[in-house]
Amino acid sequence: MQNQDKEFMEIKMQENRRSSQSLLGYLFIAPSFILMMLIIIIPTFVIVFLSFTDWSFGDPEFAYIGFENYITLLEDEVFMTSFWNTIYFMLLVLPLSIIIGLAMAILINSVTKGAKIYRAMFFLPVMASQVAMGIVWEFMLHPTIGLSAHFFSIFGIENLSLLENSSTALTTIAVLTVWQFAGFNMVLFISGLATIPKDLYDAAKIDGAKSFFSKFWLVTWPMLGPVTLFVSVYTLVRAFQVFDYIHVLTKGGPNHSTELLSYTLYVEGFEYFRAGYASAIAVVFLLLTLTITLLKTYYFEKKVHYK
């Protein structure tokens, strides 16, 4: 009789403990859950919903218009320019920031003195406000009194305005972006390089890989596969969200040549307050981001995973 009582009490205690854990669990996640819903989850669904309406901010009512917004997007010259600008921008920023980041990582890895200082200097741009540094760059690139002006005048080129010239503006901003991103990528590559076993380089030397390049193709590049992949994804996602430079320096001009999706979204949503239309742009934005990230997950599992 006493043993049964004991067991019963133990089970009761365990249940109490479990339910107290449950209660606590829900309590702990409650605030975060509510905030997540309010700030991220519900808004995402709202955006998708809004993209099928014609609502403008401040309108008392709105109508459901199906895919009309999306069709308008395809016919909107500004949007299509913005879209292709964004693609061009990403295609420029991605390889450059990776190549420079990787090159610097390899160099820093191979020197013993000063590594920390070099690393710090490359990483500085990551920390600094895009707005502040954008303004500094604008000054530096000023056609007459900027640093670049003095530099170009050595070659006899006067009055070259990179940011006001529709054929060079976007590329210039891409270069600024690479300047900001390369240091971050470099740091990721440095930690990637550290994981490569030294033995492999010894084996490669004995197998006949003498030059830097043969060792790079045989050992370094393949072993960096996973790192390169997620650096690429991260760079693409970030490049996608570049906004500050555009708003502060060019406002999408000259002639929409520096118009990027993030900026177009801003203009439609917060200057023209065409919420429905802007939502459609946001959905496009979201789909592109998701595609990049999901492609990476798929590719990662399939090819690069050889641990």
Binding site: P197, D199, L200, D202, A203, K205, I206, D207, G208, A209, K210, S214, W217, L218, V219, P222, M223, G225, Y306, K307
Partner: protein
């Protein structure tokens, strides 16, 4: 001309001297083991032979040629690493083919898709294919050619590493503790395989290990290294029966050799615990002695004799084919291990009588550790 010759080689990193005046001569087809505890410099020496590291002074000659300034690629050597160092992103086939491909294909031919079509690369690739398959056949890994290293067991990875080393038919095989990462039973199996491989290929092997059993069972010659010097360079048998230094004697042999403290006087006689064990030294200048007595060099006698010594049994291990008695001899601090075939109903705490088989006894100077020799006619 020897296959490998090392002359007066030293290696220092800043103030620290890793190798101090190494001299070595290896004949063609010999299996040499560099044996020693961690930190003795054996791996460093191997890397210097390979060309992965450069000596501070001295010469390395492979087949009579000074290779000091020659790349590892051009020394005609191969190496098997402790961690196997297989390229994780390549299949077994590709791993083994790499040494051949890197050498025989030029830059253009190595390009991913188009390389095959350049300059008769196809022919070279066919030759390479034959070589790879031949090696895989020999090592019994032909069914693994498509797998990646992560899909292989330790023993299989080991074979692939050996295959990669074999495929170029080098003059010199270097092995850096290749069996350390395998479990005990696999190690014993791989030992025989490597020894068989050596016989078949009839090439020169330089093998590094800290495991004295490996050294004893596989080698033609062993170089026992400690603290950057080669203490003894001889056949395994001689190193076991005729060590030239107490450190060598202690490193080789399992269970470890017993060291007893003894004294000797002008008459050259040796006294252990005050007892004359009826053995004379050649030179009477040594007075403090360390006697090395291997477990099998003790004899268990039932009755006390003139030269027997008393010991107390502290622990008995029954290994089936023989017993190991852990005993305390006289006033000696350390436990000694005695190997006997029968214990005649002795048990723990019994007092027993032991005689030393003086012919097998190894005498060392207690101060320097150097081997001392007894009078030829001493001992019965």
């Amino acid at each position: 001309m020897s296959a490998l010759s090392i002359k007066n080689c030293t290696k220092s990193y800043g103030d620290v001297q890793i190798l101090k005046d190494i001299n070595l001569n290896v004949k063609k087809g010999e299996f040499l083991t560099l044996l020693g505890p961690s930190g003795c410099g054996k791996s460093t020496l191997l890397k210097i032979i390979a060309g992965l590291d450069t000596q501070t002074s001295g010469e390395v000659l492979i087949k009579g040629r000074d290779v000091t300034n020659v790349d590892p690629t051009n020394r005609n050597i191969s190496m098997v690493f402790q961690s196997y160092a297989l390229y994780p992103h390549m299949s077994v086939y590709e791993n083994i083919a790499t040494p051949l491909k890197t050498r025989k294909l030029n830059v253009m031919q190595k390009m991913p898709f188009v390389g095959k079509f350049i300059n008769n690369a196809k022919e070279t690739l066919n030759d390479i294919d034959k070589d790879v398959k031949e090696v895989a056949e020999k090592l019994n890994i032909i069914h693994l050619l498509d797998r990646k290293p992560s899909e292989l067991s330790g023993g299989q990875k080991q074979r692939v590493a050996i295959g990669r080393a074999m495929v170029r038919n080098p003059h010199l095989f270097l092995m850096d503790e290749p069996l350390s990462n395998l479990d005990a039973s696999l190690r014993v199996q791989m030992r025989t395989e490597i020894a068989a491989l050596h016989r078949e290929l009839d090439e020169t092997f330089v093998y590094v290990t800290h495991d004295q059993e490996e050294a004893m069972t596989m080698s033609d010659k062993v170089a026992v290294m400690m603290d950057g010097v080669i203490l003894q360079f001889d056949t395994p048998h001689n190193i076991y029966t005729n060590p030239n230094h107490i450190k060598v004697a202690q490193f080789i042999g399992s269970p470890k050799i017993n060291i007893l403290y003894a004294k000797s006087f002008e008459d050259g006689k040796i006294y252990l615990n005050g007892k004359d064990i009826e053995y004379k030294l050649k030179d009477s200048e040594f007075t403090e002695l360390s006697l090395g007595v291997r477990p099998e060099a003790f004899k268990l006698v039932e009755e006390k004799t003139n030269k027997s010594i008393k010991a107390v049994i502290k622990h008995i291990e029954n290994l089936g084919s023989h017993y190991l008695l852990y005993v305390k001899i006289g006033l000696e601090e350390d436990i000694c291990i005695v190997k006997v075939n029968d214990i005649n109903e002795h048990k723990i705490d019994d007092i027993i009588n032991l005689e030393i088989k003086t012919k097998k006894m190894l005498i060392f100077d207690a101060k320097s550790g150097q081997r001392i020799y007894g009078d030829k006619n001493a001992g019965k």
